[in-house]
């Protein structure tokens, strides 16, 4: 005698398998297409040119969200695990400062570390990643060991890391960076770094235990513990990975601007969270995909370029951006519900 979950509802037990069901990412992709098409249409109506058929614009659309995207890849994992990270933007600033300070050329008289100029590019890169990693590690360790809400732990890190970034050179920006370092942020390199990072973590989240643990802890932390997962260790690990990615984002930002500044990355954490959530990651944990986050970031990028393209005043841009964030998430939820019932 078998136990079946679908006796009622007049459904055959297997019907679920055959039902047509779009994955969440495909739904979000539709939103992206929709947004792009609206701009295309308005473009022909009001600007007299195509929005999409413009290679440079397509590049900028992705380029301008590459840094946010790299952060969002880490933030997505944290949110899936049921956490939140408010410190990413500040960590970007701190790593940008540290790595830039090790990437200066010797022909600059006022280098931060006059004896540490003309280093091979690996040095600032490694230092930046390390700083990010340490920040993430601290976030994770504090959250795991003290059980305070991640919101508070990372809020503390947000304030502290920003302070450290300003303190590092007393607010002075760092410039005269080597060409090799600048190359990290030149041309479409940020895009490549972003997409490779996303791809790597897409695979890791879908096909490794690291990924399964992340989803399991987010879906039900007590259950994950009972199933034998070392929840605290995994928590620390994921926050560390996210810190590392914020570090990478910091390196890319400073390489792109060929300068390190303490004001960098301001509010990036919110854009990264927005990208993840627009991309279908649930703030309640347990649900989300890197692919969704990539599309979420692209939606933000398309919007920014689209507004500029339509010559919409900056005020209206902000006003509309807020509304669109909400509408995108509402639309996604609505479709999700419709498909269910």
């Amino acid at each position: 005698m078998a136990i079946s979950n679908t006796q009622a509802l007049g459904k055959s037990p297997k019907s679920g398998a055959f039902r047509f069901k779009l994955p969440a990412e495909a739904r979000i992709f539709m939103v992206l297409l929709g947004v792009a098409l609206v701009f295309e249409l308005l473009g022909w109506l009001f600007v007299g040119q195509s929005f999409i058929a413009n290679k440079e614009r397509l590049i900028v659309m992705v380029l301008q969200v590459s840094v946010i995207g790299i952060i969002a890849v880490g933030v997505t994992q944290i949110i899936i695990m049921g956490g939140i990270d408010l410190s990413s933007g500040s960590v970007v600033a701190l790593t940008a400062m540290v790595s830039a300070s090790l990437a200066q050329t010797s022909d600059f008289a006022r280098a931060v570390f006059p004896s540490l100029t003309d280093l091979p590019v690996i040095a600032p890169l490694a230092a930046g990643l390390l700083v990010g990693l340490v920040c993430g590690l601290i976030n994770g360790a504090v959250i795991a060991k003290t059980a305070i809400p991640p919101f508070i732990a990372t809020l503390g890190m947000m304030v502290t890391a920003r302070g450290l970034a300003k303190w590092y050179t007393q607010g002075e920006p760092i410039s005269m960076l080597s060409d090799h370092y600048a190359a990290i942020g030149a041309g479409i390199n940020p895009i490549i770094i972003f997409l490779l990072t996303a791809l790597a973590f897409h695979i890791i989240l879908s096909y490794t235990r690291y990924g399964k643990y992340t989803y399991a802890i987010g879906a039900n932390r007590a259950a994950a513990r009972v199933a034998g997962i070392n929840v605290n260790r995994h928590l620390i690990l994921v926050y560390t990975v996210a810190g590392l990615l914020s570090g990478l984002a910091g390196v890319v930002t400073s390489a792109r601007a060929v300068s390190g500044q303490a004001g960098m990355g301001m509010m990036y954490e919110l854009d990264a969270i927005a990208a993840a959530v627009i991309g279908g990651t649930s703030l309640n944990g347990g649900l989300g995909k890197i692919t969704g986050t990539v599309i979420g970031a692209l939606i933000l990028g398309t919007m920014t370029s689209g507004f500029t393209f339509l010559r919409i005043d900056a005020y209206y841009q902000e006003i509309v951006k807020g509304i669109i964030i909400v509408v995108a998430v509402v639309a996604d939820q609505y479709r999700q519900r419709n498909r269910r019932s």
Binding site: I3, N5, T6, Q7, A8, G10, K212, I229, G286
Partner: protein, 515 residues
């Protein structure tokens, strides 16, 4: 093997049946565990032999789950000796326990809702391919094999969120079995299962016993005890009372050990005069869930609702109470047609609804017992110029928890710290305070010990005597048969029959339930 704990006075001298120590899997002695304000376990000893099913009995809050959580590494005891296969051991985490061959099915479901059945079962033990990546195909295959062995018919790729509670329980069971551990602890595994699944579970349990595993089985259901268990240990108020072979015990003896007094009547049904029709339902339908449900219930009448898991009983109750409003059909209260679009309107019509899932839709876990109990009566007389009349409410709550015998140090205690059964009593109290005319109870005695169960049954009868119309959904057939004036049976979202008390038998109900 040294315990410095002082001897505690005990209600009955603990007695262990003579055992051959070579077959002892687990042995604990002098275990103590205290929570803030409560000593959950005090100088408790327990032994588990290989190849036996060892039942654990005790009232709500006796400390059964706490002891099991200690055995499974979830809690670390304040004090005590723990021996596994004759070796001293100190577990520090659930993982530790699993690695030492101890698996547990918890009283509360512990699944990851958004993950597939297979992912839930093999978490931490996923099969890897040669690139070190997870081999999903093989994982599904392994699940199918496991399900074939246990004769469970679920799609390994289905998300747990889409399963009914009973199916989820079966997934838990399958996962526990999949560990292939020496010791399997089951904490009230059947509280969410109906007869069919219970019988099925017992086959699995017997199979494991044949394989020489030790199984600890916690239940409040007396019949299960005599059907499946070899030995039984009884607990009361955090103390170990005794351990006997089941053959040496009678029904009444077990109860006496548990409660410390006699309970004479199991289903204290009193026949009361039946009044006017209080609630009448016609062709009630919730698209895709249940169809054309029609019935009526009179003042003073208890209408039992029976059916298999997933037959739609809970959905009907939810719709009656406005949690998920009907797509068509009519509800009449005292002859008046009404629209019930939210629980609020339902309450205005004099309804009350005890839901089946107390954790999800019942308790406010981090609020106090008192706040939990009075939340639905914050209006009318209890409100003065917008302010809540706290004193009067507190007195009402104190009286109600007295009546229901809620076991707690005080009413300011968080409900989270109560045992499951006591939480249930608080929720019943919440609804009784609203003085309902129509009381809908969904599995009112799920996870409740025999003593409390009898009290709740008495209370239901008393309410019926006062003219309240009662609808009682239950998966426990003896309860439905013992308590109801009439029994409505559902199958696949439709009513298959309404049977009078006089005509109802186990067989007639089961036949209707099977469709």
């Amino acid at each position: 093997m040294l315990s410095l704990a002082p001897e505690k006075p005990k209600a009955a001298a603990p007695s262990h049946p003579p055992v051959n120590s070579e077959t002892l899997l687990i042995e604990v002695e002098g275990v103590r565990k205290a929570f803030p304000g409560v000593v959950a376990l005090d100088d408790v000893s327990f032994r588990l032999r290989a190849g036996t099913v060892h039942a654990l009995m005790g009232e709500n809050g006796a400390g059964k789950s706490t002891l099991m959580k200690i055995l499974a590494g979830v809690y670390i005891p304040d004090q005590g000796v723990y021996r596994l296969h004759g070796r001293d051991i100190a577990l520090t985490s659930p993982l530790d326990a699993l690695e030492n061959g101890i698996a547990m099915i918890h009283q509360e479901l512990n699944l990851m809702p958004f993950m597939s059945i297979a992912e839930n079962i093999w978490i931490r033990r996923e099969p890897l391919n040669r690139f070190g990546l997870i081999d999903h195909a093989r994982m599904y295959q392994m699940t199918r094999e496991l399900f074939a062995q246990l004769a469970i018919d679920l799609d390994p790729e289905a998300k747990v969120a889409s399963l009914s509670i009973s199916s989820r329980q079966m997934v838990e069971i399958a996962r526990a079995v999949s560990y292939n551990s020496d010791v399997l602890i089951m904490d009230e595994p059947t509280s969410a299962l109906t007869e069919h699944e219970v019988a099925h579970l017992f086959r699995i349990v017997r199979m494991l016993r044949e394989q020489g595993k030790g199984i600890i089985y916690i239940t409040h259901k007396m019949n299960e005890l005599f059907e499946i268990a070899d030995e039984v240990s009884v607990f009361r108020d955090g103390h170990f009372i005794g351990c006997k072979r089941v053959e040496q015990l009678s029904h009444d003896e077990v109860i006496r050990m548990m409660v410390g007094r006699e309970i004479t009547e199991m289903f204290p049904k009193t026949i009361v005069p039946i009044g006017e029709v209080a609630l009448e339902v016609e062709q009630l339908t919730l698209d895709g869930v249940f169809h054309d449900v029609s019935f009526s219930v009179r003042q003073g009448e208890i209408l039992g609702v029976a059916g298999l898991i997933g037959s739609g009983r809970s959905n009907v109750a939810e719709t009656l109470f406005g949690v998920s409003p009907a797509s068509s059909g009519q509800i009449r209260i005292n002859g008046q047609a009404v629209t019930v679009d939210s629980p609020r309107t339902a309450m205005q019509h004099g309804m009350a609804f005890l839901t089946e899932d107390r954790k999800d839709t019942g308790c406010f876990l981090n609020l106090s017992i008192q706040e939990n109990m009075q939340i639905s009566v914050l209006g009318g007389d209890n409100l003065k110029a917008g302010f809540v009349r706290q004193q009067a409410l507190d007195e009402m709550c104190a009286a109600m928890s007295g009546t229901l015998r809620v076991k707690t140090p005080n009413l300011e205690e968080r409900i989270e710290n109560l045992s499951g059964g006591n939480q249930q009593k608080v929720l019943i109290g919440r609804w009784l305070l609203t003085n309902p005319k129509i009381l809908i109870l969904d599995e009112p005695t799920r996870g409740i010990d025999v003593g409390a169960k009898a009290e709740i049954h008495k209370l239901i009868c008393k309410l019926a005597g006062q003219g309240v119309a009662v609808i009682m959904i239950s998966s426990e057939l003896p309860e439905v048969l013992g308590m109801s004036d009439r029994i409505m049976v559902m199958h696949e979202g439709r009513v298959t029959g309404i049977v009078d008390r006089a005509d109802a038998t186990q067989v007639s109900i089961m036949t209707l339930a099977a469709g």
